[in-house]
Symmetry: C4
Subunit: 211 residues, 4 copies
């Protein structure tokens, strides 16, 4: 299948963005409902402080979903049209994003209660790995033989981006390994990943390449 100008892009790109933005926005906002509510208001200060692991998983999950939104936005800005396979791969990606509040809640609760932390940390990072895999799949489908890419998208950038997506999946698998060893270390690793991603020079280079 060679790239054509605008053939069977039966799915309107802007409405796919609209649906995706909606799912990202709700998934990121629904995280607040996963913080367990205080049960004893006579010890409110204690109970609020004791919930700090839930706040930590809330913050990490929020930033992770925000970064995923940015990645998603970047992919769509590189793509000239949306075909059926892209739609379904995107749907699977949205599914893994919308699922995140569940492992995030479990992770926070496990850390707070000090029970089942290892399992919860593995579960959380396994879901993040599914996210990374879904991103890689979407990207590979869009860029294989430059199928859906805009014509002026630089070939060199395509290859470096592919490497980044594969690397991202690798990093999240490493996070699972760390979680087996120490739940807290895996949370710190996730947090470090978020900050690295927000500040790092690689994505900046890509941005400039794309500009």
């Amino acid at each position: 299948m060679t790239p054509r100008s605008a053939p069977d892009d039966v799915v309107d790109k802007s409405r796919v963005e609209n649906l995706s933005d909606g799912v990202f926005a709700f998934a990121i906002t629904v995280l607040v409902l996963t913080i367990s509510r205080p049960t004893n208001y006579a010890q409110l200060a204690h109970q609020l402080l004791e919930r700090w692991p839930s706040y930590a998983t809330f913050v990490i999950s929020f930033l992770l979903i925000g970064i995923m939104w940015l990645n998603h936005h970047t992919i769509l800005s590189y793509v000239k049209r949306v075909d059926h396979a892209f739609f379904y791969l995107n749907l699977v990606l949205l599914m893994t994003v919308a699922f995140i509040p569940f492992p995030a809640e479990v992770f926070g609760e496990a850390l707070r209660t000090g029970t089942g932390e290892r399992t919860a940390a593995v579960f959380f990072n396994a879901v993040i790995t599914l996210d990374a895999l879904a991103f890689s799949g979407l990207w590979l489908h869009a860029t294989r033989e430059r199928r859906l890419l805009k014509d002026d998208f630089p070939e060199k950038l395509r290859r470096s981006s592919t490497n980044l997506f594969v690397a991202g999946t690798g990093v999240s698998i490493i996070a699972i390994g760390i979680a087996l060893f120490s739940p807290w270390a895996s949370l710190a690793f996730d947090g470090a990943g978020v900050f690295f991603y927000a500040l790092d020079p690689i994505s900046k280079r890509i941005d400039h390449g794309a500009a």
Copy 2:
């Protein structure tokens, strides 16, 4: 009532799309709240694995709503304007979509606890049938005498699409029948339907016809 250029389309089509996208995005994302939270973190691994029927209904429901969104998007792309009846039929359709998280939760819980599965499966597929009926109603209203259809919409495609919507309703009624027999088989049938729909050649033919 003969089709006219732009008479009483008092409802702005793009804002109806906006509201609909919002309802679809929220209904699909709220599904994650319907997975029952672990109750005993000392047995977390066991409890997370034991929830796999809930994950299965989550996945099937998510993909079903995603496909409904795609159908909805297709209908609106064929329609040149939105009249009051279309608005109300669309509202009823959105209502049946927004209701799905309830039977999805019940289905997952019934399968997980091994109690009331048959009832839950019938309930779930009955709601999906309501969805299919609402889609058929919206489509028939829009296309009857080509009322709201764009002028260049091919007549042959109108008839084949009508057949598909009626067939979709039939398939979901069959799913109710299977649910009476075996809840698990009905879930598998729903899943197969999703994959068939995503891959099948009929809709592809339609897409090309519409292009």
Copy 3:
């Protein structure tokens, strides 16, 4: 203050529509979370059937919010710009809309359990009355001395619309009165109102006047 072309409309109309559509879409979709979940899956069929009052309040509330969305959409289509007072009156309106899931849940539960129905019915219809008042306030602010109205908006239509908004408030006050007498009758009255509104000739006349 005489109407001017585009003076201090510091609030972008399309983003106000965006925020409003979001609030309407979530408020209407969150209704499904207010249906009480089954507690005993051994009696699932019984428990699902027994919930029919909750389904009834779900349907009525969903259609009511949908109609409010349509009204909101109509008002904004008549308005040429959004000033600060309009923004705040709209915010109050959105607040009364976003609150509806609470009385809707209470109403459904009261009818289902057969306890506190009268109170719940009065509460529900009182909130709907607040909604009607907020709509009237928004409309009066926008149309007083034709402040925010588009220049070609017919004066006659302005007056008849004002009458309709005032009448709507009156109807919802009557519903409170009926609720004091019979909760079921007030629910039926609300349902009849929805169907009357969807079919009635008055709004049709207005639409044509506005076309």
Copy 4:
């Protein structure tokens, strides 16, 4: 870094608005889920009345988030492009907004049950202070050396707006102080702040300056 016409604004401004509007709309609507549901329908009237502190925190929180949306909208209307740092600062801002339903629920419950009110009031106003800090940070990043500001944005307005954002942070810190003294007074202070903001002449002057 000198201001340039449109260099590395890799993040599409309109999609950032879209995501932000989604988060604001959802956070504001989810507030209704934080009102504790009646537990005894035989005393429904009593229980509904007794919840008035929850209604009060609902109203205050709703208006606060609405005003934050308006501020956010204003900032984005002044900005000509979105860079990576703006995106991440905006993400942190959205995080503090999405978190509000949690302290709002805790505040309402504490006031209703008459337990832990002081702690809850401090917690609520501390989160509002985080919001104010996030707003200041976003504004300072956007306006420092006029980095992201539109070229025709008046220098005088930049300075007065900065003062306002800093003042807003100061006001919310004062609210924490009041909360330590009296939870009810801090709620009243928050409410007064909302009304002052909606009516005050300072923002009006700014609007006119910007027109």
